[in-house]
Symmetry: C2
Subunit: 104 residues, 2 copies
DNA sequence: TCATAATATGAATTTTACTTCATACTGTAA
DNA sequence: TTACAGTATGAAGTAAAATTCATATTATGA
């Protein structure tokens, strides 16, 4: 089903390597939220958030639950939680003095 | 040392979410390699690989060992190995039918 | 010390991803 | 059955990152 053509690993990391999507993930750590609510809390346009939510959804980082005309998004904690732990550990161990230089 | 300014998480994922850098990591899974060797095996310019190696190094994903005028790069397996496992598991579980749509 | 092989660097260009905008879709209640 | 709130979408514009190219650096052996 997945071809190397699209390289899911790359997409996995690219999806997470975006500021706004990271903000969404961080917000959803406090619990599920409606799309508009996310946009408001983060102070971004509704359509921008919608684009990013689509991407997060496609990559399986969030789930969605329709509720009338609303859509309630929640975090896929099974992936996100251990991933965050791993990232923290790596950064603490290897990046204390380096990462400030390692990218824009 | 690390400020939110630079957001190390984002950089972590951005660094990994790049095709060429992923190729380098994959190659280094077979063992340490000189910079030129990497460029040759991957069929890319020396300077391009050098730029990417710098980024991987800064983010702590590879180590380097000078050897005369050469520099031998090797994988930081402590981070990369468990990370790969986690990514594979996630993709298998959540992305079988989705990730082909989830990004360019 | 000079020449050379190996690698790194900076800046300009090219490519890719993000954002905005206008609009379309989808349920629901009046 | 229409009006509306909530959300999604595509395409155009904008911003950011990757690549190339020319050149610099560095260690080494003649």
């Amino acid at each position: 089903m997945i071809e190397e053509l699209q390289d899911p690993h790359r997409i996995f990391f690219k999806t997470l390597g975006n500021q706004k999507r990271w903000e969404i993930i961080t917000l959803l750590e406090d619990g599920p939220r409606r799309a508009t609510e996310i946009a408001e809390k983060l102070g971004h346009e509704q359509s921008l958030i919608s684009h990013h939510l689509k991407r997060l959804l496609m990559c399986g980082f969030v789930h969605v639950q329709p509720n009338g005309t609303e859509r309630v998004y929640s975090l896929n904690e099974k992936t996100i939680q251990p991933l965050l732990k791993m990232v923290h550990r790596h950064i603490e161990t290897y990046c204390e003095k380096k990462c400030t230089e390692c990218g824009p």
